[in-house]
Amino acid sequence: MDLTHSPADEEFRTEARAWLRAHVPRTPLPSLETEEGFAAHRAWEAELAADRWSVVSWPERYGGRDAGLLRWLVFEEEYWAAGAPGRVGQNGVSLLAPTLFAYGTQEQRARVLPPMATGEVVWAQAWSEPEAGSDLAALTSRAVRTDGGWRLRGQKTWSSRAAFADRAFGLFRSDPAAPEPHQGLTYLMFGLRDPGVTVRPIGRLDGKPAFAELFLDDVFVPDEDVIGEPGQGWRIAMSTTGDERGLTLRSPGRFLASAARLRDLWRAQGSPEHSRARVADALIAARAYQLFAYAAASRILDGARLGPESSMNKIFWSELDLALHETALDLLGAEGELADGAWSEGYVFSLAGPVYAGTNEIQRDIVAERLLGLPKGRR
């Protein structure tokens, strides 16, 4: 039991802090959910990548620092404490990259990862469909075999930042005759500006064109863009949802920084009694999330994998994020209503937390069935 970082890890922290202090933009970038903001965030990724800070945990040959999980956690603490911009490449980095590390070919890793690390190619996740949300295995978009590859047909939706992103990864039904809905699915990558792809931006709650639906009309995908074996898509995709819900999508550093800002806001407002409990609880929950992550990281370093416990993680961070932002807006009173306030964008984003990455109802089912051993019932 030890919560102190090694001197080498602390040195890494110091180096990261110094770099961030020198580089984090002094005025916040425009929202990454707008075209202008997307471009600014892409440039920020390039700046990070130039000094190998964009994907610190990756191997050096793909642009990382081989820093390992603990240093990644340290880096994230520094990153968010420094008030650095949101990460435009997060879907690629936290979902596709781990999948390629586990199931991709050498060639795919060498081709896909370096431009992902620099923000030159930003990835969108194309999983959901109009009729396949929580029941993702109900998806009907097809991948049909053709010479040297596959042809995609169908529709994807709610694809975050697909309006401005470059490429997407998703699941397609390659064997409609398979006996079970999650069999006969193939996981592959395609270009959002390839012939046959139509991208229609969808305004989100605040009107920003953040996500999009994708219409796919005979889009050609070469064999080298299939991830893993054809027909094995479900297993491959599910093995990486643990990453999404688990540590990597929402690092503790992010919530520690938000909680500290909330505490400062509360103090700046004269420490009002009515919000005392909510502010304290947010600080404590952020700390709990950090320590939970340290425990999980220690287990992973011992060779364990994050299993269904990532579902608890997802429930916890999404509820914490909402509570933090709701408290901040309440503290701000009339100012909190302003759409361009410092907390407002975060609030709108936090509202979606219980929905995306698998709704919290789906996560609770997983916890109940796989961690508590309760019987499967009617969904």
């Binding site: 340290y294 916890f316 609770r364």
Partner: protein, 317 residues
């Protein structure tokens, strides 16, 4: 950085669990609630042999400590089996009696399990004053050993907790009272104990909803039931690292955060457990009640939620 129990710490927990499973604690608890301490004292001796009461006692006074992580590990198990008695108070007394003179005089007895100590929080009741051989009152001018008989036993919401007021005064043991340090240990032990209580409530409830059928299926297959239990599990699993983290740092604000979170998670789990057992959960006969009532009592023992939050905010965490 390795935030994980080591093999020895896990083995310690397993050994306590094996011993407590064999001890039939529900029967011990029911005796204790009636004021019959015989079986409770026997269990206490075995816990002492396992080293439980030596963890807060320094080696020079016959202890194994200070070992706050092992203490937390042990108290999770004591909570899991709802072991009765002034457990956290005895651990806290070891810290309270840390000045050389009282340490030499009392700590060997505490570590060996020969003495049960209780501590009255200023203005509060002492737990199990009728069973304890050392009754301590920390006061502004010093630490007093209560020499007069304790007041009459008052019933607690948790029948296993027998509350007594301590008459003021007594023998002045030392003018220096390390009350804050003792409170830190007491709160840590209480947090760990509450976590154990919550884990036991969850386990028992999961077992119940798996076997209780209604409408032709186990009630545990209903989503409304599952989701409440999933929330309990999540709350408890996020309390656990706070408890262990507080044991590592021993910062009062970390301990307060752990106390608040573990007690809250245990209490919420108690509410869920009562509800999901239906009417049987509302009976004193059924053993579940032994944990249900303790979860409520621990929530305000040694620091209400608001006192803990104040500590966190004052320190800034």
């Amino acid at each position: 950085m390795r935030f994980l129990l080591d093999a020895e710490q896990r083995a310690f927990a397993d050994a306590l669990r094996a011993m407590l499973t064999a001890a039939d604690t529900p029967a011990v608890i029911r005796d204790w609630s009636r004021g019959d301490h015989t079986r409770g004292r026997a269990l206490w001796s075995r816990l002492a042999e396992a080293g439980v009461f030596a963890l807060a006692v320094p080696e020079e006074y016959g202890g194994l400590g200070p070992r706050p992580v092992e203490l937390a590990v042990a108290f999770v198990e004591l909570g899991r089996y709802a072991v009765p008695g002034p457990l956290v108070e005895t651990a806290g007394a070891a810290v309270l009696l840390g000045e050389p003179a009282p340490a030499r005089r009392f700590l060997p007895g505490l570590a060996a399990g020969a003495d049960l100590a209780t501590v009255a929080a200023p203005g509060g009741y002492a737990l199990d004053g009728d069973a304890a051989s050392l009754r301590l009152s920390p006061a502004p001018d010093g630490l007093y050993l209560c020499t007069a008989p304790p007041g009459p036993v008052r019933r607690s919401l948790d029948p296993a907790r027998r509350l007594t007021a301590l008459p003021p005064g007594g023998e002045l043991l030392t003018p220096a009272v390390p009350y804050d340090r003792a409170l830190t240990w007491i709160r840590l032990a209480t947090a760990a104990q509450a976590l154990g209580v919550g884990l036991a409530l969850l386990d028992r409830t999961v077992a119940h909803v798996r076997q209780r059928t209604q409408f032709g299926v186990p009630v545990g297959s209903f989503q409304a039931v599952k989701h409440r239990l999933a929330d309990s599990r999540t709350a408890l699993e996020f309390a656990r690292p706070l408890v262990l983290g507080a044991a590592v740092s021993l910062r009062p604000e970390d301990v307060a955060a752990a106390k608040l979170t573990a007690c809250e998670a245990a209490y919420r789990t108690a509410r869920t457990a009562l509800h999901l057992h239906g009417a049987i959960g509302y009976t004193a006969e059924y053993d579940l009640s032994l944990w249900l009532t303790k979860a409520r009592a621990l929530r305000s023992a040694w620091g209400t939620p608001e006192e803990c939050r104040d500590r966190v905010l004052a320190a800034g965490l």
